[in-house]
């Protein structure tokens, strides 16, 4: 599965467009991490726990999108976009969408 955020795949020809596919996940922090983040809020600096959390969440959302694309018989997803929205205090939704295509 090739994933790309441009509309073409260099050197490959898109034979069929299959429409939009998407994946999302809602994640929340846990208390331990929150405590550490609280401390970091005094000293400043990177919140490694959150960085990893969001990275994992994005990976999961992407996997879901890929599974959806596979289900409809695509072998590539192009024009992929990521978006984040905080839906409640302490919880965030990570959303990824793109166009499923078949390439030769």
């Amino acid at each position: 599965m090739i994933i790309s955020n441009i509309e073409i795949l260099p050197g490959k020809r898109i034979s069929k467009h299959l429409g939009l596919v998407q994946g999302s996940t809602v994640r929340t922090k846990h208390v331990g991490r929150d405590l550490m983040a609280g401390l970091k809020n005094i000293f400043g600096g990177e919140l490694l726990g959150y960085t990893e959390l969001l990275q994992d969440a994005r990976k999961e959302a992407t996997e879901r999108m890929v599974r959806q694309a596979e289900a409809i018989g695509a072998n590539a997803v192009i024009n992929v976009r990521f978006s984040t929205s905080s839906i409640a205090a302490g919880a965030a939704e990570l959303f990824v969408y793109g166009t499923a295509v078949i390439i030769e």
């Binding site: 441009i6 000293f43 600096g45 990177e46 919140l47 905080s86």
Partner: protein, 150 residues
């Protein structure tokens, strides 16, 4: 009285450690930017013409950076008189440059020659009391073009 002592202690801690962390981070960023200078990044939607056969792959890098206590107070005060909030400007600059660097490092590890269509996404992920910014997340992503070596 105790509240005041705690407040000034936190302010002092935030100022000292926050400044140290920021100076260190900027130094590291500048150093790493030099190392990754050969790898070009574009916000163009399409790869430049005549780059030869390439494979493409999505790469990305993210970072969450928290503000320190001093900056939060400084920004709060700035909110009264208005104007440039320097405290947050440097925070966001750090986060963006770090995210782009992480993306570049991932691309470099995959043997890419350039990254096109770089998009940056910023989200404030935690809000402290009084809806002030607690920490920001920046995610940078783009399509890495990996030359095919025959």
């Amino acid at each position: 009285m105790y509240d005041l002592i705690i407040f000034f202690t936190l302010l002092g801690l935030g100022y000292t450690f926050g400044r140290m962390a920021e100076a260190k981070h900027f130094k590291a960023i500048i150093e790493r930017e030099k190392q990754n200078q050969q790898l070009l990044t574009f916000s163009e939607r399409f790869p430049p013409a005549g780059i030869g056969p390439v494979n493409s792959e999505l790469v990305g890098g993210n970072v969450v950076i928290s503000v320190d206590y001093f900056k939060r107070v400084a920004a709060g005060l700035r909110g009264i008189v208005g104007g440039r909030v320097r405290a947050y400007e440097s925070l966001l600059e750090r986060a963006r440059r770090e995210a782009i660097l992480r993306m570049k490092e991932e691309a470099k590890a995959k043997g890419a020659s350039m990254v096109v269509n770089v998009k940056l996404e910023t989200a404030s992920i935690t809000k402290g009391q009084k809806q002030q910014v607690g920490s920001v997340e920046v995610y940078a992503y783009g399509t890495a073009l990996i030359p095919i070596t025959v």
